[in-house]
Symmetry: C2
Subunit: 335 residues, 2 copies
């Protein structure tokens, strides 16, 4: 059994969606058991089936809009998020899923769960939709904006291992986000990354322009955290605005109305495809246990995919495989 | 009469679309006259109505894929682009429109047309679609990636003057692209820009996240050239990919097909709205004469809007007004 720690109180619609999501996940995956961390009396309101689900009562909740994530992680020892993290460290659980505040998650990942030995810069890695694969991993998305090229290359290695072991993609391809495809384009940062990636032994496809953001020639896209943030939110914003235009246009005029009605089913399928939540959310890489963060506004179904994703990282033994890789590369360096 | 220099040979479909675009523009604007620069015999193939249009025969064309824009501008003195630029300097024309290679245009803008006195960093400024206004100006989009905050603020002042005088927007709002809305977010660059913008006397609305890229709370968005490039191309790429998904989804199944047929008219209207070409293309700011660049792949109609836009800059007397502003601010500094 894979033991999943679930922060039942993190999320805009917690604990209802988190508890319902846990029950959904139990039905979908028969090799998991879940511990829900949170206020017992609130969780019990929604827990209609406790098959392979237990509750650990916690009296505190880190607020979604916390301005002091460091203070929250350090000070609120009985919060659902901290307790779930501690359970990983204590060996009670194998992986964790939370829709709680991202900055608190990142701080907790570093302070409580801790970095993998030899891993320089843990990162948050969302998956964005892709027309060429079933999703593109994009990184670095950390809170810290300054990153060195060697950090990024190490993160890429983690992402490649994830793609192989969990997504079962053979020889995953890595691309560098840049303003042009030719070598030599971009800032000093891009040029250094390009050089390191070429020598890294990874399947590096070179520079990728953001024109191809949703249909890149690779599985993994790399950039600094500032740029990645700008690009991911641009995709989100553009999709949302196009949806609005489309909706208002489809409803214009008599034929538009009929067309809209008939197209509704197909439009909904389109929304599903573009919805980044269906891939389970972002994962934290470079720490000692799998942590996955579905959107704060996750519904039960979205959250259940997050539980699936974090348990997938255990199934694929991703962290041990990356640790092995780091060790081997360390040995190579020592020779 | 406003005298417009048109590079008839620049563009993927030149000279056909450029010549047809010129004839369209003549019909739309009764206060312009056009000189077409390019190979006379090729232009004459498409010029079916020469009302207020003359041809200046040029024997060279800067290739769309030139790898040496500097060499091209310096060496090809009889190219359609260089000759059109020279006509501005010689006082034969008031403004120019070209769909030729962007890098050559930028080099030519600096070497031939030249910077306005006191303007530190000319920039290429595209307009992206907006749901809140009829378009957002986004800059810096130069070829040079390192920009100082004071350059960006000066560029913003040009953009504000353009919004006032050409787009007739009262008190145009300026926003800074950033990873969060609170002051203090982002890199050192964003923090310096924020400080300068607050003190600039401009109507500064603060940081804007790219989630709002197509419906920002402002008329003008600022960032460094690397980020702007990434963001603009992400909008482009996302819109294109969504179009693809939509098309394939709308055609799925029987009802989807009927829906697609009935929605076609509305979908086309949507495409028009999202199409960045309808605003005439990008303009070069900070040089002595108006230069506008519709997309390389412009059709006649798109190109005609570009001619409209460059002549609008003359109608709005934008360059003289910015020059006046620079002078006044220079005087203020000297006191």
């Amino acid at each position: 059994m894979i033991r999943v720690a679930v922060d039942a109180m993190g999320g805009d619609f917690a604990p209802e969606e988190q508890v319902k999501g846990a029950m959904l996940a139990i039905k979908r995956y028969d090799d998991i058991e879940i511990t829900l961390y949170g206020k017992k009396e609130e969780i019990e309101k929604y827990l209609t089936d406790s098959t392979r689900i237990t509750i650990e009562d916690c009296r505190e909740v880190i607020p979604m809009d916390t301005h002091d994530p460091r203070g929250a992680i350090r000070g609120m020892k009985d919060s659902s998020m901290t307790r779930a993290m501690m359970s990983l460290v204590e060996g009670k659980n194998d992986c964790m899923c939370t829709s709680g505040p991202t900055q608190a998650l990142i701080v907790g990942a570093l302070l409580v769960v801790r970095r993998m030995e030899g891993f320089m810069r843990p990162a948050l890695v969302p998956t964005i939709p892709s027309l060429t694969t079933d999703g593109t991993l994009i990184l670095d998305c950390g809170g810290n904006l300054d990153i060195k090229p060697e950090h990024l290359v190490q993160q890429a290695k983690f992402a490649v291992t994830y793609c192989k072991e969990v997504l079962h993609r053979e020889d995953p391809k890595v691309g560098l986000l840049n303003i042009g495809t030719e070598e030599g384009k971009g800032r000093e940062f891009e040029n250094e990354c390009y050089k390191l990636l070429k020598e890294s032994g990874l399947n590096f496809v070179g520079n990728v322009e953001t024109k191809q953001i949703l249909e890149p020639p690779c599985d993994i896209l790399l950039s600094d955290a500032f740029t990645t943030n700008m690009v991911v939110k641009t995709v989100e914003g553009t999709a949302k605005s196009i949806g609005k235009i489309l909706k208002s246009n489809l409803k214009r005029g008599f034929f538009g109305k009929i067309g809209a009605l008939l197209s509704m089913k197909n439009l909904n399928r389109f929304k599903q495809e573009i919805n980044p939540d269906n891939n389970g959310g972002a994962m934290v890489i470079g720490v000692k246990h799998p942590l996955v963060k579905p959107h704060g506004s996750s519904t039960a179904i979205t959250f259940s995919y997050g539980i699936g994703k974090t348990s997938d990282m255990v199934r694929g033994d991703v962290i041990n495989k990356v640790a092995q890789l780091l060790k081997e590369e360390g040995e190579i360096k020592n020779e």
